[in-house]
Symmetry: D3
Subunit: 123 residues, 6 copies
């Protein structure tokens, strides 16, 4: 029952962070998806100590500089918007990565952000 | 004069972010140090749109997951404390990196944080 | 003649590891392809000490966590199947990467694996 | 109680994989150490589908190529020896990383392995 | 006015390095594009001490081994050709990366180079 | 005999690039050292198409941005000096890395360069 509670708590937190997009990501992933729900969201994101806004600032910055993680960057830009970051603030996070990992990773993240904003406007 | 203003603005911002430690880092670095002051601090850190607290959350998360940048992680843990993050909040940022880059980078950052707190107590 | 033997030994090992797919990868690569045959397969993969199954476990894990190497990950998932790993075991290798490099690289590798299995079924 | 079981299962698995060294690593790490026990060992390493020998082949290869994770590489070389890999086989895993990430990371891992073998002999 | 001079000097250097392609890259990037012009080209590329040919040798090698930066690699292969590197010399730079970061990143860069040469011939 | 020739050609090239330091690096590395001599130096560095000066510009830039490869960076700063790069030019290569991978990796490489110059003066 406690195990179920971790999964349930994770699912609720995932919905709070990512909206519907989160569940779309994890549901086809089998056991890997289960661990994302239970551990990433049921354990880590459910902790106190940082706001969801602050956790997504960190997540967007990390996914930008680690490179090659575009699908996850896209999900977390969506999550950032969902927990209250503005597109301008997300652009600012991307600019903040430049001193730490240079221009190429920042350009790729900026391009991803712009594409998402265009898609949103077209909806 | 404008160029001087960028450098001066950068030095002031560097002191605001890092205290004395920042100047100790950049002064032996020649032109590289000049660019850190002018560009990283005079341009990027001087922008609006994110608080210094939020910029350091991003910086600590990035330096943790990029690995192999311990001296800079140490400087930015100090900067984080300087702009108002508590040791507990910095530990929380480190825990937030685990879903994105696994345990080894988080363990190394945690060890760095603990060593700094021990050194602070011994002062 | 010895040099020729390295290349020939490499070609035979490449075929043993990757089947036809290996040759399709290296043949358009000019001298770079020659070195892959001679050095990667003629020297390294031809060594004793680890089974091909074990070498591919290592290769799939490395290509997953290094990120941004999707074409090679795809080739080595194929190689893994070719030397006797089951799709379930490859999924297990991907899950084993999570503690070392987090969820995003594992998700990308899992997605690659699933796409390959769908393509195989459609053949 | 289930939660406790995950932790207990993780501690037992950690001891099976790393011997005493594992507990020495996680015990000073606070909540981060708790997650290593519960998630990395209680969840992931406790799964079927790959032998511990195979999991450590993957771990040593990953830690070698990701670079900047020497303390964890050292722990997992110890773990590899503990689950039955010979020093010669660990050297072979390191040689297997060369086609995937080049010589510098392999040299560093080889140096770590040699230092550990010298320390063992001196005990 | 000095600030304007940095931007102007950067634009001129960008055109010298990348031709028209450079401006196409930076113009949609907002403030990020401004920093690329001012800092990367107005400050760094405008320095003495290395030729543009040597700077692009370094850039192509770095973008190859860092992985996941294909759009920038493409721009800098174009820049390399523009400052006098031959396709054969760029292939040689890519081969030179193999001892440092292995075959997968070199294969991806080689594929990018070949695609660009095919596109050029089709123009 | 041809195989011996690759090794011999590699040893001669290694001495040309690194001086005595190169042999000191590879001789304790067993088969890994043999491959460095044969493949990295006997095959790759022995190719035409780029000068040794240009190959070391690429090598220093790559080792700087890949991070966590300090021992090899040190060897190749020595190699760069050996094939005719001045300390000022090596500093310039390090500055050239900043737009591609940010300040932290450049600071670490700069610190390594300065330490080596101090050690040289003390000899």
């Amino acid at each position: 029952m406690v195990e179920q509670t971790r999964f349930e708590r994770g699912l609720a937190k995932l919905a709070e962070v990512d909206g519907q997009a989160g569940n779309d990501v994890v549901s086809p992933l089998g056991d890997l998806g289960k661990y994302i729900v239970e551990f990433a969201f049921g354990d880590i994101y459910s902790r106190d100590g940082l706001s969801l806004r602050e956790r997504e600032i960190a997540a967007i910055a990390m996914l930008t500089v680690l490179a090659g993680r575009e699908p996850q960057l896209k999900v977390h830009i969506g999550a950032g918007l969902n927990v209250g970051l503005t597109p301008k603030e997300i652009e600012e996070i991307i600019i903040q990565t430049v001193p730490y990992s240079g221009f190429p990773t920042a350009i790729n993240a900026f391009t991803t952000l712009k594409q998402m904003m265009v898609e949103k406007e077209e909806e």
